[in-house]
């Protein structure tokens, strides 16, 4: 009896410990997680770490790092190597988990951490050739001695941090998911840059356009999907001269190609909420007599924050700005002489080629009149708690075959048997561009830096204290015939291949234009006089036009005027649509809520403010109306997915062709719908649905509440580490481009002059640790549309009162 009891007690205890020591799917290992000695408790921080001196192998001389009151490190190094080493170290100290997770995601390795639920995502990234692209980039980085030193020193700094960690000190996400950090490598820096390209230059609708072409013919495509919108205000002002002799543009092939398969496959479209604003006003327009520059990149807002503020000082540079955790240097920022910023260029740098394999072995494919060998790359996806999955990715000279015939694909569906030609697979060294910008002193340095930049293409805005301003849509642009890649391409025909590149010096550019400002908001780079084809569609014009409207009127600009413009909530799309839609609404028979909503819209001044109701009704109404017009003919979730014509074309259709056949709903053959009918039906349905959602017309309909901006932790569903329902204004077609999940991920304003004065904020905090007071301490400032002054120090001995803590790194 005693023996049985003893065995039972020992067994029970052992089982209890084993159970508590193990992750069960998404349920964490409660033993080590809850232990105050090693668990999450160890991640709780009372404030900033006090000053300390570290002995770290890897630095060449002493490095001094001053932390200011917002937790921004100001690194003072005696050589470049040490500056990047220290950047790696302090970034890892604040953001290690995020850096590693993002590069794991890019590399298709999330299944290693969370198990098979990420398997399809991982497979997608492998098929897309993310690691292949990163390897190409790494080769280019390592071929340049400065970039090599930079990326190796940065990696060494990260590893110096990782190597001294005990499991109790791991960031809390490792404890929740039950894994440990691995050594950092330069490849991970390359992966991070590819991840950025994936975020900004992967959207594509070639498939949908091909389906539309096949279903409706050329005339409808030309009519509804034109190559230049009716309303546009391009980045390079109309009338700017192109001062170069252009290369010969390839002519479109004569034989028309028609894709064979029924294309029941889907690819992510461009997200119009992901974009950005930047501009610079010249000395003539500014109150300071020097240029002032502003930038706010719009991305999917997340925690830990996308950006990490840093100041890097060495004998060759003194630069401050926003860096990407995982990449050395400063991406958007300023130094004593210049400031620069970026917004995305929506050029077409991803095309799909239909591949004809010789047989089901898929070892050869037809191109240029002969069979060419397929290169096979084995991808092994390791899966936590299960066997590894091995996948063979087929590479043609175009690029990887994203999915093969007969396969089920990630999420919805992808083009089967199509190779992706994507600029992210080109060898390129973006680090070199930022290395030079970080040290730039003048316009010539800026021009030189830009020639090294490939992808994702950006509108680089620039200002210097010699009073120059400039902007250039810049990147590696394939030399294409007009509309090449608007539809799927023929992988067997060499004339369908990309035919070289637009020379970097011939990328669009404007310097010191007569209007005394430059700006961009992802709209068309140029008007149709530019000799090269970049794309047939860019982001809608409203943000850009509104910015230009206000900058044109602006005199005596100060940093605060530019800050106010960043927060401009004027909804130009509403100002265009409502005067056309509202007069058509029939007031007969409206119920009380509908009458109140109509009145609210009629008196609305097109401001997407947090407390306003007009924005809520308009946004829902326009979405519903657009769907009512187009969904019967151009639906995406069908066997032949398609896309809607643009807002611009829709508005033009309403005003110019109110009797167009598109207003009839083809799914009701016995009925003939018309424009007025659709306007009225969708208005009523919108109000009814808002009543259902928010109750009777009233403050419950406030835009901020309806929009519900969430800044979410990178692990899906982790609300506890997220900022949910942040109350602010904005919208996807307004300058303050805050939507439910996306928004200005960094706002910066830099006034150049004898010494730069700069301001900035991002929605989060310097620390990636949810147990730190610096995890989301800047969200409130961001929400209110305010900026913090950025502390630009010139000496490590600074007595500035904002310096809170000093970290010294010495050789052992």
């Amino acid at each position: 009896m005693n023996r049985i009891k003893a065995i039972l007690a020992v067994t029970l205890t052992s089982v209890l410990i084993v159970c508590l020591n193990k992750n069960w799917g998404p349920i964490p290992a409660f033993g080590p997680l809850l232990s105050p000695f090693v668990g999450f408790w160890q991640n709780a921080e009372a404030g900033m770490a006090p000053g300390q001196t570290l002995k770290l192998a890897g630095t060449q001389e002493e490095v001094t790092i001053l932390y200011d009151d917002l937790g921004v490190p100001h690194i003072f190094a005696r050589n470049d190597h040490d500056a990047y080493f220290a950047q790696g170290y302090v970034t890892a100290r604040d953001r290690l988990w995020q850096m590693e997770f993002q590069t794991h995601a890019a590399a298709g390795r999330v299944s290693e951490i969370v198990g098979e639920r990420a398997q399809e995502l991982d497979r997608f990234n492998r098929r897309l050739g993310m690691v292949y692209g990163a390897e190409q980039a790494l080769k280019a980085m390592m071929a340049d001695p400065q970039s090599k030193q930079e990326v190796e020193a940065y990696s060494a700094g990260i590893n110096a941090f990782i190597n001294q960690l005990t499991p109790a000190q791991y960031p809390v996400e490792y404890k929740l998911l039950g894994y440990a950090p691995e050594p950092w490598t330069p490849l991970k820096c390359a992966l991070l840059l590819k991840q950025m390209t994936s975020t900004l230059a992967l959207g594509n609708d070639d498939l949908y356009m091909t389906n539309i072409l096949k279903s409706y013919g050329r005339a409808v495509v030309d009519d509804l999907f034109p190559d230049y919108p009716t309303r546009e205000d391009p980045i390079i002002p109309v009338g700017t001269k192109w001062d170069f002799a252009p290369l010969k543009v390839p002519s479109p092939p004569k034989d028309s190609f028609s894709a064979q398969l029924p294309l029941a496959f889907r690819w992510q479209e461009r997200d119009p909420s992901i974009g950005s604003n930047n501009w610079a006003v010249g000395a003539e327009k500014s109150a300071t007599g020097y240029p002032i520059l502003a930038n706010d990149p719009h991305l999917t807002l997340s925690l830990p924050s996308i950006w990490y503020q840093i100041q890097l000082v060495s004998p060759t540079m003194n630069v401050y700005g926003a860096s990407l955790p995982g990449a050395p240097g400063v991406t958007i920022g300023f130094n004593k002489d210049v400031a620069w910023g970026v917004t995305n260029v929506g050029s077409d740098v991803l095309d799909f080629y239909q591949i004809r394999f010789r047989d089901s072995q898929r070892r050869e494919y037809w191109h240029d009149g002969r069979w060419k060998p397929v290169r096979r790359r084995i991808e092994t996806v390791n899966i936590k708690g299960g066997p590894a999955v091995v996948d063979t990715v087929l590479y043609t000279h175009h690029g990887p075959v994203v999915y093969q015939p007969g396969e089920k694909a990630f999420n919805k569906n992808f083009p089967v048997g199509f190779a992706a030609r994507w600029v992210a697979h080109e060898p390129s060294n973006e680090l070199r561009c930022f290395y030079l910008l970080n040290r730039a002193r003048n316009y010539d340095d800026y021009r030189k830096a830009l020639t090294f930049y490939a992808a994702p293409a950006q509108n680089f805005v620039f200002a210097d204290n010699s009073k120059n301003i400039a902007i250039s849509p810049n990147g590696k642009f394939p030399l294409k015939w007009k509309e090449q890649g608007k539809f799927l391409l023929d992988g067997t025909n060499p004339t369908h291949d990309w035919q070289g590149w637009i020379p970097a010096t011939q990328n669009p550019l404007v310097k010191n234009p007569p209007r005394f400002f430059v700006s961009s908001a992802n709209q068309f780079s140029t008007d149709p006089t530019y000799p090269y084809y970049l794309h047939w569609e860019f982001a809608p014009y409203e943000r850009g036009a509104r910015i230009n409207q206000r900058l044109t009127a602006m005199q005596q600009a100060t940093p605060d005027s530019l800050r106010m413009l960043q927060n401009d909530n004027y909804n130009l799309r509403a100002a265009n649509f409502l005067p056309v839609l509202l007069p058509e609404v029939n007031q007969q028979g409206l119920d009380q809520s509908q009458q109140q909503a109509l009145k609210a819209l009629t008196t609305w001044r097109y401001q997407n403010d947090a407390s306003g109701i007009g924005a809520t009704i308009f946004t829902e109404w326009l979405t519903r109306f657009r769907k009512a017009v187009w969904d019967d003919e151009f639906r995406v979730d069908t066997e032949t997915p398609m896309r809607y014509p643009s807002y611009d074309r829709t508005l033009q259709l309403i005003t110019r062709q109110p009797d167009a056949r598109w207003f009839d709903d083809v799914s009701t053959p016995n009925q003939k719908e018309n424009l007025t009918g659709l306007i009225n039906a969708t208005f009523r349905a919108t109000v009814d649905s808002l009543v259902k959602q928010h109750g009777a017309f009233g403050p419950g309909w406030a835009w901020a509440r309806h929009k519900g901006t969430d800044i979410r932790h990178l692990i899906p569903g982790l609300d506890a580490f997220s900022a949910v329902d942040v109350q602010n204004g904005g919208g996807s077609s307004v300058v303050n481009a805050t939507t439910g999940r996306t928004g200005p991920s960094w706002r910066m304003v830099v006034a150049l002059g004898p010494s730069p004065k700069a301001y900035g904020v991002y929605p989060g905090g310097q620390s990636g640790n949810p147990g730190s007071p610096y995890y989301m301490n800047m969200i409130e400032t961001w929400r209110k549309g305010e900026l913090n002054e950025l502390l630009y120090l010139t000496s490590a001995d600074s007595q500035n009162t904002r310096v809170r803590s000093t970290l010294k790194i010495e050789k052992p």
Binding site: S35, W41, E45, A720
Partner: protein
């Protein structure tokens, strides 16, 4: 009283260097060495480890204004109260300590019955 104090002290020191589950061997050995009944062994193990975990967790909670406790509490308990998580922590530690203590005592009794003496 002595087993409780010993478990608390020894487990606190051991956890500074060893994995969290070292609390189990500590409670096991102390109760093997000295414990009169199974209930007492469980109580000593539970209280010994639970007290250490309670005090340390509470200390961290108060020192950091509950910044992480509150977030973790939302995550694990769907509750805004960090104190609930402090108590859960003490309970889990206590449970392991208690079970290990009980096991120590039970093994001792089985050994005694079989004629071993310590």
């Amino acid at each position: 009283m002595l087993p409780f104090v010993l478990i608390a002290l020894l487990s606190a020191v051991a956890q500074l260097f060893l994995p969290w589950w070292v609390i189990a061997p500590v409670a096991f050995l102390v109760c093997y060495w000295r414990s009169r009944t199974g209930w007492r062994a469980f109580g000593n193990g539970f209280a010994g480890v639970g007290t250490v975990w309670l005090i340390y967790a509470l200390f961290i909670h108060l020192q950091t204004n509950g910044i992480l406790t509150d977030r973790m509490s939302v995550l694990l308990l769907k509750s805004e109260s960090g104190l609930a998580l402090v108590l859960l922590t003490a309970l889990i530690g206590g449970l392991v300590g208690g079970m290990a203590g009980l096991a120590g005592q039970a093994v001792r009794r089985a050994a005694n019955a079989a004629g071993f003496r310590m």
